[in-house]
């Protein structure tokens, strides 16, 4: 009873709304009898229900509500015309939406194809070929390579046509378009031969003209299509496959391996076709062996090969000649038919000798073709019957060198005082063991001389000769490179012997003038008698074994005299020269630059040292540029220059400002005019107003 009490609101409402089951109602009313509180609530609820019924009744939808709704609906949703509503309704169906999207995509794809230029004709073609293939598959015997069979079928049709050739049937009606070029042209050829004998020539000639053109148009298309046609892959058993394998092996002994391979070949029902071998410089053998085995045994044979030695590489190729084979076969069949036909013509219909000869000639051509094709087929058969294995064998350590050769190359650069003399001296050394391979002497227009020589020296003589040449002139640079060349391989070759080869010597000769000095000195000597001291200097230089390289003399307007002398002495005489110079006058500004070449071992005592000297005197007179007048002149000149400069600046400023000033002036003028015009108008208006 407690639950009823708790659920009083619910039960009360349900009772009032007559939604209680009989059992519930009984229970509820029983509770009301017991419970005063609930009874009270029940009474209130009943009143509540009544009030609600009364108040709500006023507010609920009036009687004409539905009709009003419908008519308003009609007003607000006008009826659309049948077609539009049909379309809009249709567009709401999911299936239609999907179809529409698909159609749009398809259209886009088609447009894309059109834009990219992928021709729609190609598609048509492939459809066409697949149709023909389907048609052909119904025929007996067409099982495996559909493309090939479709084609051969076409051919045989062409052959049929040839056999029917005498019948004057219009060629357009025949499926001649499917036949390939050679056969059809052929048939046309024969037709023309035939018709020339027959009385009804005109009609046939017209046909003759037509016949070759139609296959010419269609056959390239046919050839092009063939790759696109679906070709079913059949089992390999009925295919014509040429299997080839190549293997490269490294073996211990060449002869032994050949024996083993021969044995394997016989085991696998094969034979050794060719062998070849070649002995290397280091005594190792290298060779090739070609083995023919049955294709089915090829894999096993290759497996055995691995046992012989180290397999370097192996390749297995398979060439499918099925199509070519059947092509040739069917062409052969056609050619044979043709042959028979021709023989028949020869036997029966021939009366004209010229025609007879023509047919005879044709027959010869056909027979030649037959033979060629038979040969081709036979060759293919042989290729297919046996797999070819080409094995390259090489003995181990193939690259072990047999010997070494020491190659020496020497490069010698010399400075000579007299190039030509030294050049001739070197040339005089020539003998059977000292061969001059190249000698040239160059003189340029400034009088510089240089020479180049290449010599080949016998190994035992080389050192002596090189030393002799070195003594002839100053050595600037000497370079020897030795190269060890292995023969017959690139390994270490412990047992190989080493030999010395001829020495190649390249000499360049140049004048010592061109040599850069080891030490360069510049100095100034002040003296009053420049020319005299210069003479003394020359004497000193000669004494010390120096050579004057250049000298010059000059005098400036102020009476100063300059004499510059540059000379070159050997290093050993350098200090003596310097001391002698001190006797000439006051030595100033001595600077010495020495090129130390720590890497090179040169003959320092004979190395050249350059000394360049300036002997000068102080001027005797006063410069023309001093004094009052000169100063005054300079001052006025500078003043004038300053004036000119400022004038230029003003010009620039004017050039900058003038356009702006012009523009501003123009704008101001226009503004004034406008303002004046406006004022006048205003005045006129006022006057008019005043008049009124």
């Amino acid at each position: 009873m407690a639950t009823t009490h708790e659920q009083i609101d619910e039960l009360l409402a349900a009772d009032l709304h007559d939604e209680l089951t009989a059992a519930e109602r009984d229970e509820f009313h029983a509770h009301l009898v017991e419970c005063a509180e609930c009874r009270q609530a029940f009474q209130e609820g009943k009143n509540m229900n009544r009030i609600l019924n009364e108040t709500m009744a006023e507010k609920k939808a009036d009687a004409g509500f539905e009709t009003r709704m419908v008519s308003q609906f009609r007003d607000r949703v006008p009826k659309r015309s049948g077609l539009i509503s049909l379309i809009t309704d249709l567009m709401r169906v999911r299936a239609v939406q999907v179809t529409a999207v698909a159609a749009i995509l398809l259209a886009l794809a088609q447009m894309g194809k059109m834009i990219t230029g992928e021709s729609a004709t190609q598609k048509q073609r492939s459809e066409y070929i697949s149709n023909t293939v389907e048609a052909e598959t119904d025929k007996p015997g067409a099982t495996r390579d559909l493309g090939v069979l479709a084609k051969t079928d076409g051919r045989s049709k062409g052959a049929d046509l040839v056999s029917q050739a005498p019948a004057p049937a219009p060629p357009q009606d025949k499926p001649q378009t499917e036949t390939s070029l050679p056969v059809t042209v052929y048939s046309a050829d024969v037709l023309s031969r035939q018709t020339s004998t027959a009385p009804k020539t005109k009609k046939m000639q017209a046909k003759d003209e037509k016949a070759p053109t139609s296959p010419a148009e269609t056959s390239p298309e046919f050839v092009e299509e063939r790759p696109t046609s679906p070709s079913a892959v059949g089992p390999t058993a009925n295919r014509k496959l040429i299997r080839n394998a190549t293997a490269e092996l490294e073996v211990a002994s060449f002869d032994e391996s050949i024996q083993k391979i021969t044995a394997f070949a016989t085991e696998e029902k094969g034979y050794v076709a060719t062998t070849s071998s070649e002995k290397q410089a280091n005594g190792k053998l290298r060779g090739e062996i070609v083995v023919k085995v049955l294709p089915d045994n090829l894999d096993r044979f290759l497996g055995k090969l691995r046992g012989i030695g180290d397999l370097k590489n192996q390749a297995l190729t398979t060439e499918d000649v099925t199509k070519a084979y059947f092509d040739t076969e069917s062409r052969l069949k056609n050619a044979r038919l043709m042959e028979q036909r021709l023989i028949e013509i020869l036997k029966t219909k021939s009366k004209d000798v010229a025609d007879l000869l023509e047919v005879e000639k044709e027959l010869g051509r056909v027979r030649e073709q037959i033979e060629t094709m038979q040969g081709e087929l036979k060759f293919m058969d042989s290729q297919v019957a046996f797999a070819t294995v080409t094995i390259t064998l090489a003995e181990k350590n193939m690259n072990l060198p047999a010997a070494f050769l020491l190659k020496e190359k020497a490069q010698l650069s010399l400075y000579a005082t007299e190039v030509e003399k030294t050049y001739n001296e070197i040339k005089a050394l020539a003998s059977p063991k000292v061969q001059i391979t190249n000698a040239q002497i160059d003189r340029d227009n400034t009088g510089r001389v240089s020479a180049r020589l290449s010599l080949l020296l016998a190994p035992d003589e080389s050192e002596g000769v090189i030393a002799k040449i070195k003594g002839m002139a100053r050595v600037e640079n000497f370079q020897v490179t030795t190269e060890r060349v292995s023969q017959g391989g690139d390994g270490l070759g412990e047992n190989a012997k080493t030999e010395r080869d001829k020495v190649e010597l390249n000499i360049t000769l140049s004048r010592d003038e061109q040599e850069t000095a080891l030490q360069q000195t510049t100095l100034r000597i002040e003296t009053s008698q420049v020319s005299e001291k210069t003479k003394q200097l020359r004497a000193i230089a000669e004494q010390q074994g120096g050579r004057i390289r250049s000298s010059s003399f000059s005098r400036d307007p102020n009476g100063r005299e300059y004499s510059t002398v540059s000379l070159r002495v050997p290093m050993k005489n350098y200090s003596a020269l310097m001391q002698a110079l001190n006797g000439l006058g006051k030595v100033e500004n001595v600077s010495v630059r020495r090129d130390d070449r720590p890497d090179s071992q040169i003959d320092e005592a004979n190395a050249p040292a350059d000394v360049s000297m300036t002997i000068y005197s102080q001027g005797n007179f006063i410069s023309a540029d001093t004094g009052m007048w000169a100063t005054l002149r300079r001052t006025i000149g500078q003043g004038a220059a300053a004036l000119m400069w400022s004038a230029r600046m003003i010009g620039v400023a004017v050039a900058f400002l003038a356009p702006w000033a012009l523009i501003l002036g123009a704008v101001g003028w226009v503004a004034r005019r406008v303002a004046r015009a406006r004022a006048a108008r205003k005045q006129a208006a006022e006057q008019e107003a005043g008049r009124r």
Partner: protein
Amino acid sequence: MDSSEQAIFRAAVQGDREAFEMVIRSVSRNLFAIAYGVLQNREEAEDVVQDTFVKAWKSRWRVRDSAKLPAWLATIARHRARDLARKKRPEPLSENFESQEVVENASQTADLDGEVRSALAQLPELHRVALTLRYFEDLDYGTIEQTLGLTNGALRGILGRALGLMRKRLKPALASIG
């Protein structure tokens, strides 16, 4: 629901105007009750119902199961009414009825109709809608549940609570009548 009704619903969903008008006739009163339940205003409720039909007609293709067309229409009507109510009164009607202090004596002087109205206004929306559906159209519980998308038997609790609250709020007035 019998099969002829089903057929009408299907035709209406598929765009048959006559069928749709039949649907309008059959459900417009219920929709009015719902809209009135939310809005407590007859003119507004009528507008809502009208809008509901127009909108439903335009988007009828969204209905997957044509049998649920009336419930779908009821949902639209309720949403539209609620939107309108929100627009009219930015602050939502108090949903927190439990904690609301029951005003017992405040409305003693006011007339009964006004008291009922204010008591109704204090009810949660769903309760009010359920009440209007019941008292306007005298629908049985099952139909109301179906229309409002309620689970079986939920309505008894809702109506019970609604009536209970009303009763407590209108106690003085009821006592005076009693």
